[in-house]
């Protein structure tokens, strides 16, 4: 069932206009909102409701490139504080009901605006109406807006709705790659370890964007069990796996990655090694080898990897690997 979305994945983008103007009819005079309640009361999502404690949000950090082994304590505590604040913040019932009405109403633009508003609120209870909409099913534009909003709530540490995991898990298996990618992105913000198998499974997704998003989420979680699958992806030349693998790879994997040169796109190998070299927890003597390996690779990606590595090192830091990278870069320039 191929489908197309013209809605950008970034949170906050505006979706399509009105999709249709079908009349809202009532079932035996039961209003849509009540019907939604009936649906949700019967759905598996409700039945498989997780414990609220399990659905803790992940912090805002989603960068796959941990620039040092020891996280910034100040930054971490700030994020934790924001997350705690987000989970404590809640919207009044009247605003939630209004949002529910807009989400289920006829007007697509209003529904999308409501979803964005909920996503931007950072409130702990803002995810409920979004999860309800997804559980009941919606047209693609509303679905995408809701998933984006959930991801935004997750990033703000406010994705505490009990059924958020089940709904996102379900949508991570949607036919449309753009919907899967949004669901995976939102899932990645949930701290609950139940999301890991789904994220690992999505590393095998047919869509590169979905794989890359899953890889980034796993790297952000420091999920070492993802390393073999990420390596398998790099072995297949999947550029989206380069950065996550670099973030998770242990030193003993580096020679295996280097050996892929010539068998897959050298650019992918260069990107992986380049990102690995930028990690703060890598000994400089190992970086030196990595930099030399990158320099042996042909192509613009290898040059970029060297340039980015040099740029990532503070100006006053004169480590040997930086000097070597500069020397090798100069040689490449001269060779041109």
């Amino acid at each position: 069932m191929p489908r197309r979305s013209d809605r950008p994945l970034q949170v906050g983008g505006r979706g399509r206009g009105r999709v249709d103007h079908a009349r809202a009819v009532s079932v035996n005079r039961v209003g849509t909102a009540i019907a939604l309640g009936l649906v949700l009361g019967a759905s598996t999502v409700r039945a498989a409701e997780p414990k609220a404690a399990d659905a803790k949000p992940v912090g805002a950090k989603s960068n796959a490139k941990p620039d040092n082994a020891k996280p910034d304590k100040k930054k971490g505590s700030k994020e934790k504080a924001a997350a705690d604040e987000g989970s404590k913040k809640s919207l009044p019932a009247a605003r939630l009901d209004a949002a529910r009405g807009a989400l289920a109403g006829e007007d697509d633009a209003a529904a999308i605006a409501a979803a964005e508003s909920l996503g931007g609120s950072g409130a702990g209870n803002a995810a409920e109406p979004l999860a309800e909409l997804l559980a009941a099913g919606a047209a693609p534009a509303r679905t995408e807006a809701s998933l984006d909003a959930l991801a935004k709530l997750g990033a703000a540490g406010a994705l505490t709705a009990p059924r958020a995991f089940e709904v996102l898990d379900l949508y991570s298996g949607h036919h449309a790659p753009e919907i899967r990618q949004r669901a995976v992105k939102a899932l990645g913000t949930i701290k609950d370890p139940r999301v890991v198998p789904t994220l690992l499974a999505r590393l095998g997704d047919a869509a590169p964007g979905v794989r890359a998003t899953a890889g980034e989420a796993l790297a952000a979680r420091r999920e070492r069990s993802a390393t073999p699958r990420l390596f398998a992806l790099v072995k297949r030349g999947d550029a989206g796996a380069a950065s996550p693998l670099a973030a998770l790879a242990t030193a003993d994997l580096i020679p295996q990655i280097a050996e892929l040169a010539g068998t897959v796109d050298d650019g992918v190998v260069a990107a992986t090694l380049g990102d690995y070299a930028q990690r703060g927890d890598v000994p400089d003597r190992l970086r030196l080898d990595v930099v030399r390996t990158i320099a042996k690779l042909a192509g613009a990606e290898a040059t970029t990897a060297l340039v980015e590595y040099i740029a990532s090192v503070p100006a006053k830091d004169d480590r040997p690997s930086k000097r070597e990278a500069q020397k090798l870069l100069d040689e490449r320039e001269t060779a041109k």
């Binding site: 009819v25 019907a35 009936l38 649906v39 759905s43 598996t44 699958r229 398998a232």
Partner: protein, 620 residues
């Protein structure tokens, strides 16, 4: 009227004309169909002596140039190799072999005789410029050459048979045939048979060339004659045992044989000896029927009720009466020649394998090899060859695994055999047991199969209703597509159909069906089949997954054009679900964002099952 019927009518008409002509004093065929004369001719014929050797003569190519070689099967050793090109097929008799060869210069050709002991050329006989070789045969006493002389006779050509001394080519006798439309001969026990004018076989005394009798084939053309130890045979579409009862070639005769064979088999019993190109080694030597006959008086039946089909790399043993497959054998390379020795099917492969399998069981009974040789063709002189495989119990290896062999045929990337692959799928389906079910599942996972082959395998899998193999279906459904591991999705729609065919016995596969329903790559057709299968198996535990599917996609416009999956899932919920599911369906039917075809279907379906529930909807 079908072409076959037309042919039959034409043959009958021609036979009637021929019968009229036979009554005419000027007709050369006045003796045609005379059972008494055929009986007398056969009485003069003697059964051939018991064979004393088992040889195969090989036509070799490759870097060493064109050569002819003799290989002793019993001793498993090469006897001799001689340079030389071969055009028409090698024939063996007494201590001489003959074959056709290209002329040194100009057009035409040569008949070459060689000493069987060392391959040395005994003589070469060029064909005259106006001569066309129809064929030859040889026994211990003579070489019999049938030729057509162009530009002579009433109809523009004449035919004749010449008997030559096998070692000196001295002419023993010459017999002028009544027509120029002549075919290659066959000799057996002093009786020489020559097909002429499509419908006749003239029987000559091999010692003198005197005409003994004429056969009139009224039911079908007589395009071949073939001499076997058990008798002389003629025919075209089928096989007639030459006897007084078949002097007029009736298919109703007990001496007429026609095997029941599947559609992929080319019904080729012997070479069309009227066609010069079939006198040469060709694809026909790699694709034909191998048969021997049990003769009781004038009655004939295929020996052991078995015929063997040689189809390039494959050999199949069939029950000649029912057409049932008895065994199947697959060889890595094309077999360029094969023969039925009466005990084994012996064959030679293009890359130098010389092998034999039991004609009844297909078990390997002989194996030898000519390393580094490229074999272009071969002729066997191995009547009665009955080897025992060294070191094997009972002198034969294990009978070939029919299912495995058929599976290998289907999986073979060789695209020359589409019909054979379909046959193999059908035969696997006929085999009982889990192994066959497993093989069909493997086939459905193959890449590069034609849509027809996939359809056959799918239908076969569903038709088996193999209740003992539900776990195999479940295992196949457990596989999901995975880009990282380079794995494709299994053919879910076909597997789901097979599960559905099991009914409640297929319930064990329900978790895997549910797992597939949640996969992003599931197709509309597969999702619909899964829903059908869940209903057929009564899998109530699938209700949550069905609800999720329905709600997630109900408003997706991608389903507008083809709502079959949504409708099938909704139907499954109606059948498997309870009151809560009915409420859900009611909501889906009424919610304005639900795709129109699903709404329309649900309004109707819910109305039929509980008209009161959709009163409002229908009013709308």
């Amino acid at each position: 009227m079908r072409p076959a019927c037309w042919r039959g009518t034409l043959i009958a008409a021609a036979a009637a004309v021929a019968a009229l002509l036979s009554g005419c004093a000027t007709s050369p065929y006045r003796r045609a169909g005379n059972a008494g004369e055929v009986a007398s001719a056969l009485a003069r014929s003697q059964a051939p002596a018991s064979p004393s050797r088992s040889l195969v003569f090989l036509v070799l190519g490759g870097a060493a140039g064109p050569r002819i070689a003799a290989y002793d099967l019993a001793a498993s050793r090469l006897l001799w190799t001689q340079p030389g090109e071969v055009t028409t097929r090698i024939a063996v008799g007494g201590d001489v072999i003959i074959h056709g060869a290209p002329p040194a210069t100009g057009r035409g050709g040569l008949i070459v005789a060689r000493d069987i002991g060392n391959g040395a050329v005994l003589w070469q006989r060029p064909l005259a410029a106006d001569e066309r070789l129809a064929g030859y045969d040889i026994d211990a006493n003579a070489v019999y050459v049938v030729a057509q002389t162009m530009g002579a006779g009433k109809h523009g050509s004449n035919g004749s048979v010449v008997a030559l001394d096998p070692r000196t080519q001295a002419v023993r006798w010459r017999h002028e045939l009544p027509t120029g439309r002549v075919a290659g001969p066959a000799v057996r026990g002093g009786l020489l048979a020559v097909p002429v004018d499509s419908q006749y076989v003239i029987l000559l005394d091999a010692a003198t060339g005197g005409e003994l009798a004429q056969v009139l084939s009224t039911a079908e053309a007589a395009t071949f004659v073939r001499a076997l130890p058990e008798g002389m045979f003629y025919g075209s579409r089928g096989v007639f045992l030459l006897s007084p009862a078949t002097a007029r070639g009736s298919r109703q005769s007990s001496g007429y044989l026609l095997a029941q064979l599947p559609a992929f088999v080319r019904p080729f019993y012997w070479y069309d000896l009227y066609r010069p190109e079939q006198a040469q080694y060709s694809a026909i030597d790699r694709n034909h029927i191998l048969w021997r006959v049990a003769v009781e008086g004038e009655r004939a039946r295929f020996r052991d009720d078995t015929v063997v089909v040689h189809d390039y790399r494959f050999l199949f043993g069939f029950d000649a009466t029912s057409g049932a497959l008895r065994w199947a054998y697959s060889h890595p390379e094309d077999a360029v020649a094969s023969t039925d020795t009466g005990s084994v099917i012996a064959f030679v492969s293009a890359d130098g394998d010389i092998a034999a399998v039991d004609r009844v069981t297909g078990a390997r009974r002989y194996q030898a090899r000519l390393p580094g040789e490229m074999v272009r063709a071969a002729t066997f002189d191995a009547e009665g060859f009955s080897p025992k495989l060294a070191g094997a119990e009972g002198g034969a290896g294990p009978a070939p695994n029919t299912v495995a062999t058929l599976g290998a045929i289907v999986a073979d990337p060789d695209r020359r055999f589409p019909d054979l692959k379909l046959f193999a799928i059908e035969e696997i389906a006929r085999q009982p047991g889990r192994e066959a079910t497993s093989k069909l599942l493997d086939i459905l996972g193959e890449r590069g199969l034609t849509p027809l082959a996939i359809q056959k395998a799918s239908e076969a899998l569903a038709a088996r209703k193999d209740t003992q193999s539900g776990d195999l279906l479940a295992a196949a459904l457990r596989i999901h597509a995975d880009y990282a591991e380079g794995r494709s999705a299994p053919p879910v729609d076909f597997l789901a159909r097979a599960v559905a065919a099991l009914g409640p016995s297929g319930r064990t596969a329900a978790p895997e069906l549910i797992g597939q329903l949640r996969q992003p790559e599931i197709t509309t057709a597969a999702a619909a089949q899964i829903a059908h299968a869940l209903v057929a198996t009564g899998a109530e535990d699938a209700i949550p997954a069905l609800r999720d599917f329905l709600t997630m996609y109900r408003a997706d416009p991608a389903n507008d054009a083809d709502p079959s999956a949504l409708i099938a899932v909704a139907e499954a919920l109606i059948k498997l679900g309870g009151a809560a599911d009915r409420r859900l369906l009611l909501f889906v039917a009424e919610e304005p964002h639900t795709v129109a075809p699903l709404r329309a279907h649900l309004v109707k379906a819910l109305g039929e099952t509980d008209p009161g529930a959709v009163k409002t909807a229908t009013r709308d």
